[in-house]
Amino acid sequence: MQDFGAAFGEAFALLLGFDPALMEIIGLSLRVSLTAVFISALIGLPLGAVLGVSRFRGRALVLVLLNTLMGLPPVVVGLLVYLTLSNAGPLGPLALLYTPTAMIIAQSILVTPIVAALARQTIEDMHAEYDEQLRILGVGRGGMVATLLWDARYSLLTAMLAGFGRAIAEVGAVLIVGGNIHHVTRVMTTAIALETSKGNLALALGLGVVLLLLAVVINAAVMGLRATAARWAHA
């Protein structure tokens, strides 16, 4: 275990020296997960909002499904995306397997239900309060959704941060569809798994520290958003 201290020292040296290999991996992680969150927001926010303001037959079933999808195991998503993108799969001709795009697709599938389900809850509560007021102003369905999305923006950003937290920390899906290829699809989590098994603790620890820091930043952002929301009586 005397290795451990040395590994830590080395890890910080890599971090403080902005080691190119390390930075490449961090950069790809951020690019993949941020893009996935962006796509998830584009799909999940309107979906959650529409579910929050409408009543239709089978809605309860859709909500149960959505809440179930929130807890999808990343490896299962990875497997399904793999099957879809592999040579024999329906999207095989696009040759996306083992590319960052495949990883973005997998993470978007993981994160979209989270964003949609959290948005649905927020929007539904706010809709109960706003509905009559907006109807009396002559605001239609589309305007209602837009107004709710805007007025719920702090809660919705929090939902997106939750989604980002899940994406950046996830290893199963990106490993299966990305393949952990050096310089191409290696991200923080898959690199940690590999480097640890190779005994290259310094790099693994350095990446682990970055992941932890990101978690701290995310949580600080969530708290900041809550405080801002409270100041505007968004509660």
Partner: protein, 249 residues
């Protein structure tokens, strides 16, 4: 960009008179509104009075098309209520619902048509008229109860509606604030907005009313010019209400 209300051309349709015919609303086997006929023609201030639970708030929701009656019908200028004409019918709820935005943004939200600068100018003007100019940037939901009620009224008046229905706009207000609201109401009336006001404040009703509708148990038991209601109410329910005797049966 914050989303603002859409821009229907509200001059494409008149809404007066607003007429309710044979209105019935039932909930849980009980008639909350029981065969009510009511006409709101142009000009003046009508007051709706009645004890708690009489159905006053529900009646306003029926007249504005927020609720559909189980029987009977509501018409605005001869046609069913519709969304494009909704901006001509203002309603301030008993519990005002303010958007999670600044006081100014709450008013800007309902102003349509005009360009950005023009909307801003009109919103500032409406705030100032309600004595809230100094609170323009404050989060609306952080205002005091009385300030929120004034803001809700200012917002309802900003689009210059043809009719404004007010559900106890002065509940919880100090005398000066109530006076300020009364002044805003009179001012709107003088500019041609038809006012329908629900209030429990007899003195206020006396000051403002042209006519009084007295509602009890979901039924209109009296509908008369103001003078005759306050001096010699014809219904025993109205008399009891004015005497401050509780109407529990």
């Amino acid at each position: 960009m914050p989303f603002d209300a859409p821009t229907p051309d509200r001059k494409d349709g008149q809404v007066l008179p607003i007429i309710g015919r044979g209105l019935v609303l039932e909930r849980a086997g009980r008639r909350i509104i029981d065969n009510v006929d009511l006409a709101i023609e142009s000009g003046g201030i009508s007051i709706i009075m009645g004890p708690n639970g009489a159905g006053k708030s529900v009646l306003l929701r029926l007249l504005t098309g927020l609720l559909n009656p189980d029987a009977g019908s509501v018409s605005w200028a001869g046609r069913r209520p519709d969304r494009t004409r909704a901006p001509s019918v203002g309603l301030v709820f008993q519990k005002p619902v303010l958007l999670r935005r600044s006081a100014l943004a709450n008013i800007r939200y309902v102003l349509r048509g005009a360009g950005r600068a023009e909307r801003r100018r009109r919103a500032e003007q409406a705030l100032a008229r309600a004595g809230l100019g100094h609170l323009a940037r404050s989060p609306a939901r952080m205002l005091s109860g009385g300030e929120q009620q004034r803001l809700a009224l200012a917002r309802a008046l900003a689009p210059d509606p043809d009719v404004l229905l007010l559900d106890e706009p002065c509940a919880n207000l100090d005398p000066a604030a109530a006076g300020a609201i009364e002044a805003l109401i009179r001012d709107a009336r003088d500019r041609g907005t038809r006012i329908v006001l629900v209030t429990h404040d007899v003195a206020q009703a006396r000051r403002l009313a042209d006519d009084v509708t007295f509602l009890h148990d979901g039924r209109i038991v009296e509908q008369t010019p103001a003078a005759s209601f306050f001096d010699k109410p014809s219904s025993s329910a109205g008399r009891a209400y004015l005497d401050g005797r509780l109407l529990i049966d």
